[in-house]
Point group: C2
């Protein structure tokens, strides 16, 4: 069957593509063709099946018509403007995350093909104040334009699935940690930085108190969530098509303790507390713990400790040793 991945050049997209190419199957069926799309051309993988590469803007209707005209059986819709950029550039965020997602979903609707669509949503659909543990039935009132755009994507996916235009599953990713590569400008960047940088022998700054609680899943789990969602029974999920993914809820202090256990005191000591009021003002309104009961009941699994998250980073990004 044919699989389409949007956002295939992104961090998660690249790992998903590697997984699909390695497995050769998804949702219990053989992959016979893989279409990869992103704003910049994704790398062409070395696969046993045809891989076609598409570069362009997701809000370009001709591009979308081409992609959906190829009748994918499974669509992984990962493309999007990230939260910080969507907040800084209102027009860009709405054009890509809102109009682009709608255009993709409408092209699917009008194609009459009803593929499985796995949509990467985000816990940014939630806005504080929060209860201690956020239940699956907690309302979604975003406090960012990015969260708003993801929420609209979820609403369309839910209605289009109910009407039989597509067979969608939305997965709300927690913070993905440890992000490989360079630090980015996201306010959440430090959650990965305080692990990644010391493991590379570099200093990392911590802008928030060590008591901050946050929920994490590894990039490997993120890919597993996507692949698992592709194979779920839509009937088992029911009309509530968007699921909050599980993760590991820990304090920043516990993150650093895990680093210490695995990499030793010297590396963990490279984390330097450097309070930043601007970052703290954002982070203190972020969700902390999720119940994620429905997702767990449907077989989604994340790591069970932050130690595992550190070890996965060492295995997948550092060749297995320090």
């Amino acid at each position: 069957m044919r699989v389409l991945v949007t956002g295939a050049a992104g961090m998660i997209g690249r790992k998903l593509v590697a997984r699909l190419v390695g497995d050769g199957t998804v949702a219990g069926r053989d992959i016979t063709a893989l279409d990869l799309h992103d704003i910049v051309a994704p790398a062409k993988p070395d696969a046993r099946f045809a891989c076609d590469i598409f570069a362009g803007d997701l809000s370009d209707s001709a591009q979308i018509a081409t992609l959906i005209g190829r009748s994918p059986d499974v669509v992984f819709h990962l493309a999007g403007i990230v939260s910080g950029e969507a907040e800084a550039d209102f027009d860009l965020g709405f054009r890509v995350n809102f109009d682009g997602t709608r255009a993709l979903f409408d092209a699917i609707r009008l194609s009459g093909t009803c593929p499985r669509v796995v949509f990467s949503s985000s816990i940014a659909v939630f806005g504080g104040p929060f209860p201690k543990v956020i239940p699956d039935e907690f309302h979604t009132i975003p406090l960012s334009s990015y969260g708003t755009q993801k929420l609209v994507g979820e609403a369309l996916l839910t209605d289009y699935s109910r009407r039989g235009f597509m067979d969608g599953i939305g997965i709300r990713l927690p913070t993905i940690c440890v992000r490989p590569g360079k630090a980015n400008k996201a306010a959440s960047s430090f959650f990965s930085g305080i692990i990644r940088e010391p493991l590379n022998g570099k200093e990392a700054t911590l802008p928030v108190p060590r008591s901050v609680v946050h929920t994490h899943a590894s990039p490997r789990s993120a890919v597993e969530f996507l692949v698992h969602a592709a194979g779920l029974s839509g009937e088992a999920v029911g009309p509530r098509r968007c699921l909050t993914m599980p993760g590991v809820a820990v304090t920043v202090g516990e993150q650093i303790e895990a680093l210490e256990r695995i990499a030793g005191n010297d590396l963990a000591a490279l984390v330097r507390d450097e309070p930043d009021e601007a970052v703290w003002a954002l982070v203190k309104n972020w969700p902390t713990r999720f119940e994620a009961k429905r997702a767990r009941d449907l077989g989604f699994e994340a790591e069970t400790s932050f130690d595992d998250i550190v070890r996965i980073h060492i295995e997948d990004e550092l060749g297995g040793s320090l």
Copy 2:
């Protein structure tokens, strides 16, 4: 100040216009101009201030540019395709309720004027299964395209208000009862029909069990909600800009008992039980009771008994007596 009402020819729109014309003020300020818009030309009221009439499609961008170009200080956005029609005609519902609302909000955004926008949303943003009493923080997963479109309107209003493009308040109306006029094809029509028809000496059919619980507010309350929302402090409401309105939660049996108390046994006996599986299949998934704590705390008030709702219908629609 200038006030714009979209959907001004509808049942609630007409009552709102009469109220605004009668009061001559809203949100504590004198009305100096009133612009009325609907798909069919609203009646021109006899007012002490200028009233201009506009007829056209809300998804017509030139029309919206004209309306917002007049720089209204308060916008009551009531226009929309009703739930049954939005479900039957996917394109029409999305064009008017989704694109039309977005176009209106974007015209406001680009005008730089930041008016108070009162958006009539609906309890259709909620989808079952429900807890016994739906709390304010219950998630909004609609089971209709109409509910989806209202949810998207809420999400845009919330984000646009957070960003300072408008000063929006969304009010989720419960079922409005007793609706005057003829029965319509909405599945909810019987909730009004079983009161309105007997009061006119006519038979009414009841398609669902008398044990069904539902929440109602009178048309007079609906207008009061809108007017109250126009005058609320945005800061007091906070970032969660959409509020579930209060109402009277009663069984259908209790509705009929109220009719009996006020109009006598003979008229109440005109309600004939005639189970309709198709209607029941819909109604049994509808929300029953709401906590509506935030709205009550912010001063929104509904009737306290269904007797009041029957009396208001007699006063406002039947000249005060049977």
